[in-house]
């Protein structure tokens, strides 16, 4: 063994001996860390230090569950990594993707795991740090000499950003030296432009920025996160790479010397090997080997700082509600800095593959095979008298709003989620280059003046990059001869089945200058794949404005009149989220005591008081923390003591009215109505999302009722508090944003209390026999308790919105956008763009996805604007108040299934 090699092997062993590192720590490259060295760069399987192409084969174990279902997603993953195209935004949620509400996207997960198998690690500390919660999102590092991660999110209070203070932690994340912006990429990626050394950070940066979604929002890249950042969510499509992913792989591709343009550089080409186990990266579902998904990678040293992956196995667990995307991914355009506007997210993919060679004869024949409805008709009339050379560079912009019709029109096969609704708009831009060559001896079919034997060859090479809003630009160049024959056979594979019927008009004039309108004269062959439940009615609109120049004097007129400028309107019916089934009202026993009615009303009143007090106490605590007059989490000790006292009063209050002769729950049961007689179930029903399963305790007497109300009420109040306060961006109390943050929480708490009390009064009136409506009910008879309650609740709802808009709406003290009150009444915004953004406030990107009781809406919508913040908090408050309200009046309404 060479001395040098022995030396670094010894050094590697010494690393293990002298550090306290765990055996293997992932970094921006896997294997990097204290154990193997912080400068380690990992390379894909097959790299040996020499330049060239590294071919990595990816396959699916044929014996694996879901083997067939995996295949298309794996193909897509291969396509995406091969393209190395960076995209922002790259996160699609909810109705913007084709994934079910509770499903996990297999393709997104596989994209991440395959990245590991190529040698990429996590940009963030991730779970292997054994830190918890958001602390895992700090930039990847070792824990330093003190064997403890030092995590301080700095002045901006955003974890993973450039002002994080990390003590002696040693950075492992390679960053762009010029900007430390992981959402951009340098034109040359190597050690001259990227570094791991924090000393080379731009001025003012304390630690490298990572590509976490929160950091992205801070830097102005909404809904963007590196694929390699650990942390996938259900109902999330992350099928495109970001600049950070691309840059890290490219850094490795600069070879052992980390210098681009030298002999050891390599490129990586992935290929899908099919259902086999003979490949470099094997995918397999095996519940015994993983809890969810993981990449088991083997490696060996190339030298002290370079490791090559020698084999990798991806394991997935089959216990999850996986979504297997069957839509063919487009080949992304490797444009690192491209930004797409995600208006189309229905997992559609369109690939146009025009036949590169056209033969032009006097008769143009268009043969559209993909159009379900439209038929491309070319009616060319061309007269050529001499040799014509024509150059056309048309540009076509096509906009399609497809409607997918599953069984009928879709020519081939439409694959899409059956239950999802979306109305995507597809705008594609393709580039086509066609060259046409005609011989003077063309025979023009219909045209009498044409010289017969002309031959034209048209080569079209359109490239379409469908993005959420794809645009197709075609730039063909033609050199036709007098007797052209055009045969175009492009193949387009769009999804969710847009049917494009291009309008091609070619008008070669006898003069050298020809003007043709269409560019997409290609006769497309569309392949559409759709799941049976979708309906596609594609309508595509194609507009091309080519400019042709012909050097000939023929009387050639070519007119291709493909059926109408296609415009497709696709309506995708989104998969409705699973809804629960309401239970019938509990079969309440007939009351056996005279005091049952009084007990019910007194119980509801005591519950109302308790909930109001708890809401106030918790909000007051949270307000103090935001205002920085208190620290810690809420409820703190003081608040907890108050809540405990209130809980005691609740129990006493209920015992007083429901405890019978001795005014004690249990004990002497004389005149004490059993819970069943009051309409209560035998077990406390709990609350959706409550962390404490202890709510589900048996209800034996009225003490248990009090405990149930306190438990469920506490969980509901906590849900609302957590939404309003847990993710807030820390701010100085003197700042306007701080006031805004407090206003959101306080106004919402006041609203919840008011709604709860109005509702309780309405039920009380019903208990007194004054009406029979459900409370509240805006459609009830005007002046009735239910209608009046609804009106008052609407009023306080309006006041809540006004309060928040005033505090958060910027200089004009109004919300920019229209806010829809929970009863669907729109409150028109004041316009402008000076609202505090959700990111500035510190609000989750997605509202918690609970469903408002009694088949109400799901709250889980993306939060992009202040209006979204207001509507989300209203939705959660609606859920909270309605659940606790219905809990205490079981005699009138079953506990909604959405609350469980």
């Amino acid at each position: 063994m060479p001395t040098a090699r022995r030396r670094w092997i010894a050094a590697v062993i010494a690393l293990v001996v002298t550090t306290a590192a765990r055996p293997a720590g992932a970094g921006s490259f896997i294997f990097a860390g204290e154990g193997n060295g912080v400068n380690v760069v990992a390379h894909p399987s097959g790299y040996n230090g020499s330049g060239g192409t590294v071919n990595v084969t990816v396959c699916v174990d044929p014996t694996s569950p879901n083997a067939a279902a995996m295949e298309q997603s794996v193909r897509n993953v291969v396509t995406t990594w091969n393209a190395l195209a960076a995209k922002s935004p790259n996160l699609l949620f909810g109705g913007s993707n084709n994934i079910g509400a509770s499903q996990i996207d297999f393709e997104s997960t596989a994209l991440h795991e395959v990245g590991h198998c190529l040698g990429l690690g996590h940009p963030n500390l991730s779970s292997e740090s054994l830190l918890t919660g958001n602390d895992q999102n700090y930039t990847k590092s070792t824990d330093g000499a003190d064997n403890a991660y030092n995590v301080d999110d700095g002045a901006d209070n955003v974890i993973g950003s450039s002002d994080d203070v990390r003590g002696d932690d040693v950075n492992l994340h390679w960053f762009r030296k010029a900007t430390d912006d992981p959402f951009t990429i340098a034109s040359v990626v190597d050690a001259s432009t990227y570094s791991r050394d924090v000393a080379t950070l731009p001025g003012g940066h304390a630690f490298p920025t990572n590509a976490d979604r929160t950091v992205a929002a801070l830097l102005g890249y909404p809904n963007t996160e590196a694929v390699m950042q650990q942390g996938a969510y259900y109902d999330e499509d992350q099928r495109s790479l970001t600049a950070d992913d691309v840059a890290t792989l490219k850094l490795g591709m600069s070879g052992l010397d980390l210098t681009a343009g030298t002999a050891d550089d390599y490129s990586v080409t992935l290929s899908y090997a099919g259902l086999t186990t003979s490949c470099n990266v094997i995918l397999d579902f095996d519940d015994t080997l993983t809890g969810f998904a993981q990449c088991n990678a083997n490696g060996s040293f190339l030298n002290a700082n370079h490791i090559v992956v020698t084999g990798a196995h991806l394991y997935f667990n089959n216990g999850y509600d996986w979504f297997f995307n069957s839509v063919v991914a487009p080949s992304p355009t490797p444009t690192p800095s491209r930004t797409a506007t995600p208006t189309f997210t229905a997992a559609s993919t369109a690939t146009i593959t025009p036949t590169p060679t056209r033969t032009v004869t006097p008769t143009i024949t268009a043969t559209p095979t993909r159009t379900p409805t439209p038929t491309l008709t070319a009616t060319p009339t061309r007269t050529a008298t001499s040799t014509a050379t024509r150059t056309a560079t048309p540009t076509a912009t096509r906009t399609a709003t497809p409607t997918v019709t599953p069984t009928s029109t879709a020519t081939p096969t439409v694959s899409a989620t059956a239950t999802r609704t979306a109305t995507p708009t597809v705008t594609a831009t393709s580039t086509a280059t066609s060259t046409r060559t005609a011989t003077p001896t063309a025979t023009v079919t219909p045209s009498p003046t044409a010289t017969p034997t002309a031959t034209a060859t048209v080569t079209a090479t359109p490239t379409q990059t469908p993005s959420p809003t794809p645009t197709v630009t075609a730039s063909p160049t033609e050199t036709p001869s007098p007797t052209p024959t055009v045969t175009a056979s492009p193949t387009e594979t769009p999804s969710p089945t847009p049917t494009v019927t291009p309008t091609a008009t070619e008008t070669p004039s006898p003069t050298p200058t020809l003007s043709a309108t269409p560019t997409v004269t290609a006769t497309p062959t569309a392949t559409t794949t759709a799941t049976p439940t979708e309906t596609a009615t594609p309508t595509a609109t194609t507009t091309a404005t080519p400019t042709e120049t012909a050097s000939a004097t023929p009387t050639t007129t070519t007119t291709a009149t493909p059926t109408p400028p296609a415009s497709a309107t696709a309506t995708e019916t989104p998969t409705p989220r699973a809804t629960c089934t309401q239970e019938p009202p509990p079969p309440a026993d007939a009351p056996i005591t005279a005091g049952a009615a009084k007990c019910k009303r007194g119980l509801a009143k005591a519950a109302s008081k308790f909930l109001a007090l708890e809401t106030k106490v918790v909000d007051k605590c949270a307000q103090a923390v935001v205002k920085q007059s208190a620290i810690g989490s809420c409820p703190n000790a003081a608040a907890s003591a108050k809540i405990a006292a209130a809980s005691g009063k609740l129990a006493q209050g209920i015992a007083k009215v429901c405890g019978g002769a001795d005014k004690q729950c249990g004990g002497d049961l004389t005149d004490e109505e059993p819970p069943a007689g009051l309409g209560w179930p035998p077990v406390c029903p709990g609350f959706a999302g409550a962390a404490d399963p202890a709510c589900a305790t048996p209800i034996v007497d009225c003490t248990d009722i009090a405990a149930c109300i306190a438990c469920v009420g506490g969980a509901a109040v906590e849900q609302a508090r957590a939404l309003a306060y847990d993710t807030l961006t820390a701010s100085d109390p003197s700042q306007a944003v701080n006031k805004c943050q407090r206003a959101i929480g306080a106004a919402t708490a006041r609203f919840a209390i008011a709604k709860e009390q109005r509702t309780r009064q309405c039920w009380d009136a019903r208990a007194a026999g004054k009406h029979t409506d459900t409370c509240p009910n805006g459609a009830a008879t005007i002046g009735s308790p239910a209608q009046k309650a609804a009106a008052k609740i609407a009023k306080v709802g309006t006041k809540r919105i006004a309060t928040i808009c005033k505090a958060c709406g910027g200089a004009d003290r109004t919300c920019d956008d229209t806010v829809t009150r929970f009863d669907d009444t729109p409150l028109v915004g004041g316009g402008g763009s000076d609202d505090f953004t959700p990111a500035a406030i510190g609000f989750p990107e997605i509202c918690p996805d609970v469903q408002v009781p009694n088949a109400g809406p799901f709250c889980g919508q993306p939060i992009v604007t202040l209006a979204d913040v207001i509507e989300c908090t209203a939705c959660i408050a609606e859920h909270e108040v309605t659940c606790v309200d219905r809990l205490r009046v079981p005699q009138f309404s079953a506990y909604p299934c959405e609350c469980r």
Binding site: M1, E128, L130, L131, V151, V165, G231, A297, Y320
Partner: protein, 218 residues
């Protein structure tokens, strides 16, 4: 908001303030559960055993399935909404079964799991493998399980005395054993008994979670 976070891999021991903190024995090679004194709370509102699989690549709050066993024997298996079995399921253990389970976990070292010592043992195992490679002039074989789940087992007891000689009595304590990539590390380091035992404990709890008879409660 400065905070220094100590590696969470170390066993966490939370003691009641009235009880002097006493370090538990940490010999990873012993099985101190046999003959140990273990007294859990018998109340229905006290979680005696919590077994969690914290999934590596999953983000958000609810990051994996959980099995919670209360002092009265009630077991609640929770599966997040993105799992096929999404929901909460209940089944009851007899008191004798709960006692046997606690003893079994103690015998597997869960109540005395010392992550620092175990980490040192795996490091020694890896070092030995590398030195063997150097001696035989063969390439060092590296392995990494990226995104592997973290196994967390927490046990709360009112009274515990390990079976090891001289072990001190501990009252009102919650022990926490956590390890990332347990399954893979057991394969990689079969010579580290603590990992093997912890994996066996996890397997026992997983089997319990999968036991027939659970009833969905929400």
């Amino acid at each position: 908001m400065a905070a220094t976070v100590v590696r969470a891999m170390t066993t966490m021991l939370v003691l009641a303030t009235s009880v002097a903190a006493a370090p538990l024995a940490g010999d990873v090679a012993t099985l101190p559960g046999r003959g140990a004194i273990i007294e859990p709370a018998r109340r229905s509102d006290v979680a005696v055993i919590v077994y969690r699989e914290v999934l590596g690549e999953i983000g958000g709050a609810d990051r994996g399935p959980t099995l919670t066993i209360f002092g009265d024997g009630r077991m609640v298996a929770h599966y997040p909404r993105y799992m096929k079995r999404a929901g909460d399921y209940e089944l009851r253990l007899a008191p004798s079964e709960l006692d046997a389970l606690l003893r079994s976990l103690a015998a597997k070292g869960v109540l005395d799991f010392d992550a620092t010592a175990t980490r040192a043992a795996t490091r020694a195992s890896m070092m030995a493998a590398r030195q063997r490679a150097l001696a035989t002039n063969t390439p060092i074989q590296l392995f990494e399980a990226v995104d592997a789940s973290t196994t967390v087992i927490e046990v709360a007891v009112e009274r515990y005395v390990a079976a090891t000689p001289g072990a001190r009595e501990v009252r009102n304590a919650t022990t926490r054993a956590a390890w990332t990539g347990l399954r893979a590390d057991v394969d990689q380091h079969p010579d580290v008994p603590a990992l093997r035992d912890l994996a066996a404990a996890e397997q026992e709890l997983r089997a319990l979670r999968e036991r027939a008879g659970f009833t969905r409660v929400r």
